[in-house]
Symmetry: C2
């Protein structure tokens, strides 16, 4: 006898437990929940997963996830085509869109350089960025990668590739988070926010 007295359940649990952060126990809990719900839920969930994977496209311009060849952001002619924000993945696009503070286009790298995980410059969407810089009328590239060693490495790599073009290259500000007490900010962040201090009038 297998562990679950049902091979159908066992298969579902084993597939669910391949998801990140879902262990065997959680997978079993999810499977039993699906069994308790209406049949239509399992149907909708299963089909949504398969359909998404089979039919989703990546925007040929910015590599954002999209239902069509060009994503809704790139296709929106109200957005500023001259400013391109470089991000690691689509979650960063969602996070920046939520702030409503950016009206330009994006460039989704799909990863950052990480030698430990074996991710080199060729594994991320950086060649295509250089092509965009060459062919599109871009005035400013905003680097919005994670504030980590890997993010800094990738920033520097991209900067070297595009510094000879007549383009302003900027990076998102790093410093004390809004609402933070200074004494609880880590010293590197606090140090950076002193070095990168701004004239008072510019602070909103």
């Amino acid at each position: 006898m297998n562990d679950f007295s049902s091979r159908l359940l066992e298969t579902a649990v084993s597939e669910l437990s391949r998801l990140p952060g879902i262990g065997k126990k959680t997978a079993l809990r999810l499977a039993l929940h699906i069994l308790k719900e209406d049949e239509s839920y399992a149907e909708n969930l299963g089909k949504a997963i398969i359909k998404m994977r089979n039919e989703i496209k990546f925007c040929t311009k910015c590599n954002n996830i999209s239902d069509s060849q060009i994503c809704e952001i790139c296709a929106n002619n109200k957005r500023d085509e001259n400013t391109v924000c470089v991000v690691e993945d689509i979650r960063d696009v969602l996070a920046i869109e939520k702030t409503s503070q950016f009206n330009g286009l994006y460039h989704v790298l799909g990863g950052i350089i990480n030698p430990i995980e074996g991710i080199g410059p060729n594994d991320i969407n950086v060649g295509h960025l250089v092509k965009r810089v060459n062919t599109e009328e871009i005035n400013e590239i905003i680097l919005a990668l994670p504030a980590t060693v890997e993010g800094d490495t990738t920033n520097y790599y991209i900067y070297k590739l595009i510094k000879n073009f007549d383009i302003k290259v900027t990076s998102i500000a790093k410093g004390v988070a809004i609402g933070d007490e200074l004494e609880y900010a880590d010293e590197i962040t606090l140090g950076r926010s002193i070095i990168n201090r701004l004239p008072f009038s510019e602070i909103s």
Copy 2:
């Protein structure tokens, strides 16, 4: 524009976030993971979920999850048919099976009496238990429900229904967990384990 720049992604995230303990952010992480994996994974996962929900059966004897009319435990003639262990759901069957200390059959209630959540005696598989007591040759019913107020209520309800049959009714032991220091055991558990003390020779 919708939040996700892709309706396919949005649908998958919304279906995933209906799973217990999975919020919108986790659902997005899972969906992006599925997108990064091979197409066959999404296919396998989706189909396993749908197939499980559509084809799984409940054992007509004990209500355990099963791929056939009678589950593998009930169908196993090496097991002791005269002892039936009453549990809340299939996870408890798995937990008890793992101990290798029980060789009887099960009866899965599919829930316990919980007035706050609107679960009454008619919502759980208790009528069928009485029928089994009537028709099968059961010598002992082991109540293995959660050690909570709801578990105790359900225990008592079942006890009242079957006490007039010539059947031994027992309950799993509650007490200090193996490996626990006494000072860290809660006082109710420790109190119970003193009241229900056993002759030294019986302790294994």
